[in-house]
C-alpha cells in the first residue's frame, strides 16, 4: 500500500488560497447581510400585507427550501443570461446565496415574530402606532433575539454552502482548491488544507455571531430561545 502525503507543492499556492478565503468571507458576509434584509422584508410582507402577498411569500420560501442550492445557482448563472441579464460567477453566486438564505432566514424569523405575545401588539397599537411601526419597533428586535441561535446556525451553513459556487467556477476557497489541484495534482493534500480552513472559519463565524448576538441584544439574553427549523441548504 502506498501512502505518501506531500504538501511541498502546495506552499507556493498560499497566496491563491488566501484570495479564495477572502472571497468566501466576502460572499458569506454579503449573503448574510443581504439575505437577512430580504428575510425581514419577506416576514414583514407576510405579516402586514394582504393574503395574496402572503401566499406569494410562502410560495417563494417553499420553492427555495425544496430545491437544491446548486440548481438555484445554475438557474441564475445559466438561465438569467437568456433573459438578457448577464452577470459574473461571483455576482450569480452572491445572488443565489442571498435568495436562498433569505428564504431560510425568513422561515426562522417568522417563528420568532409569531411567538410575540399578543399583549405586546396591544400595547403598541394602544399607543397609536401603525401596524408597520409595531412590527418595526416592538416586534422585530425581540423576535430576532429569540431566534438568533437558529439564525447563527443557518448563517454558518450558508458559509459552508458557498463552496458550491465553485461549480460555476467562482474562485472562492473550494474553487481555488480545484485550480491548485489541477496544477499540482496533490488532491488529498490540498483538500485537507481547505477542509481544515473551512472548519476554522465555521467555528470562528459561529463564535463571532454569538458574540454579536450578545452585543445586539444585550438585555434580551434571557429571552426564551426558539429552536426554529434551521437546516442545510
Amino acid at each position: 500500500m502506498k501512502f505518501t502525503l506531500n504538501f511541498d507543492p502546495i506552499w507556493p499556492e498560499i497566496d491563491a488560497i488566501l484570495e479564495g478565503i477572502l472571497l468566501t468571507i466576502g460572499l458569506s458576509a454579503g449573503a448574510i447581510i443581504l439575505g437577512s434584509m430580504l428575510a425581514v422584508l419577506l416576514v414583514a410582507l407576510k405579516s402586514l400585507a394582504g393574503r395574496w402577498v402572503g401566499l406569494l411569500v410562502d410560495a417563494y420560501v417553499e420553492l427555495m427550501r425544496n430545491t437544491p442550492f446548486l440548481i438555484q445557482l445554475f438557474m441564475i448563472f445559466f438561465g438569467l443570461p437568456l433573459l438578457g441579464i448577464r452577470m459574473s460567477g461571483t455576482q450569480a453566486g452572491l445572488l443565489a446565496m442571498t435568495m436562498n438564505l433569505g428564504a431560510y432566514a425568513a422561515e426562522i424569523i417568522r417563528a420568532g415574530v409569531e411567538s410575540t405575545h399578543r399583549s405586546q401588539l396591544e400595547a403598541g397599537v394602544s399607543l397609536a402606532l401603525t401596524r408597520l411601526q409595531v412590527f418595526r419597533y416592538v416586534v422585530l428586535k425581540p423576535a430576532l433575539a429569540k431566534v438568533w441561535p437558529a439564525l447563527t446556525s443557518q448563517f454558518v451553513l450558508m458559509m459552508l454552502a458557498s463552496s458550491i459556487c465553485s461549480f460555476i467556477s467562482v474562485a472562492e476557497l473550494s474553487g481555488v482548491a480545484a485550480i491548485i489541484e489541477s496544477r499540482t495534482f496533490r488532491s488529498f493534500e490540498i483538500y485537507i488544507i481547505v477542509t481544515l480552513t473551512y472548519l476554522v472559519m465555521a467555528l470562528a463565524l459561529k463564535s463571532f455571531l454569538l458574540a454579536l448576538g450578545k452585543r445586539l441584544f444585550p438585555n434580551l439574553s434571557g429571552v426564551a430561545r426558539i429552536n426554529a427549523r434551521g437546516s442545510a441548504v
Binding site: T67, P68, I71, F74, G79, F167, A232
Partner: protein, 217 residues
C-alpha cells in the same frame, strides 16, 4: 445541437431514480452510524462522548463538498479506486450520520429524565432502558426533524455530480450542455426535486403539529 425532447426528458427522469437511490443508501448507512453516534454522545464514558461530539462538530463545520472530496481522494490515496456511486454514498452517509446523530441525541434527551429514573428503579440494564423505555418515546419525538433532514439529504445529493456520478443534477447539466436550453432543462430538474422534497417538508410539518398537539402542558 440536440433538441430537448422526450429522450432527454426520459434521461432526466431516470436519473432522478439514482438521486432517490443515493438518498436511500446514504440515509440507511448514515442512520446506523448516526444512531451509534447518538448513543455514544449520551454514554457515561467520557472518551466515547468526546469521540462522538468531535466527529459531529467537524462534519457539521465543513462543507458536504469537502466530505465528498476527502473520501474520494483520501481513499484513492490508499490505492482504492472507488466507483463514483460508492464514493458518493459513503460521503453522503458520513454527512447524514453527523446530522442524524444530533437530531436523535436531542430526541433522546427530550424524553423526561424521570423515565430513566423509573426504569432504572425497575432494575433494567442500560440497553434494556433504551430498548423498552427510552427509544420508543424518542423515535416519536424524532420523526418530524428526521423527515425534515431527509429533504436536506435529497437536495445535497446534487453535489455528488462533481465526482462524475450521473444523478438528477448531473443529468440536467449534460442535457443543458447538449441542448443549450439551461432555463427549460433546469426548470424541469428543479420541478422534479420539488416534487420529491415538498411532500416530505409538508409531512415533517404535519408530524410536528400532530406531536405538539399531543404534548401535555
Amino acid at each position: 445541437m440536440a433538441t430537448f425532447g422526450w429522450p432527454e426528458m426520459l434521461f432526466i427522469f431516470r436519473s432522478a431514480g439514482w438521486t432517490l437511490l443515493l438518498t436511500l443508501v446514504a440515509f440507511s448507512i448514515g442512520g446506523v452510524v448516526g444512531a451509534a453516534l447518538a448513543i455514544m454522545r449520551l454514554s457515561p464514558s467520557r472518551v466515547l462522548r468526546a469521540i462522538a461530539s468531535t466527529y459531529i462538530l467537524v462534519i457539521q463545520s465543513i462543507p458536504v463538498l469537502m466530505v465528498l472530496f476527502m473520501s474520494y481522494y483520501g481513499l484513492s490515496l490508499f490505492g482504492i479506486g472507488l466507483p463514483p456511486f460508492l464514493a458518493a454514498s459513503a460521503s453522503l452517509a458520513i454527512y447524514a450520520s453527523a446530522y442524524l446523530a444530533e437530531i436523535w441525541r436531542g430526541s433522546i434527551e427530550s424524553v423526561p429524565f424521570q423515565q430513566w429514573e423509573a426504569s432504572s428503579s425497575l432494575a433494567l440494564t442500560r440497553p434494556q432502558q433504551y430498548r423498552y423505555i427510552i427509544l420508543p418515546q424518542a423515535v416519536r419525538i424524532s420523526l418530524p426533524p428526521t423527515v425534515g433532514f431527509l429533504v436536506q439529504l435529497v437536495k445535497n445529493t446534487s453535489i455528488v455530480s462533481v465526482v462524475g456520478f450521473v444523478e438528477l443534477s448531473r443529468a440536467g447539466t449534460l442535457v443543458s450542455n447538449a441542448t443549450f436550453l439551461p432555463f427549460q432543462v433546469f426548470s424541469l430538474v428543479a420541478a422534479i426535486y420539488f416534487t420529491i422534497c415538498f411532500p416530505l417538508s409538508r409531512l415533517s410539518r404535519h408530524l410536528e403539529k400532530v406531536m405538539n398537539a399531543g404534548r401535555p402542558h
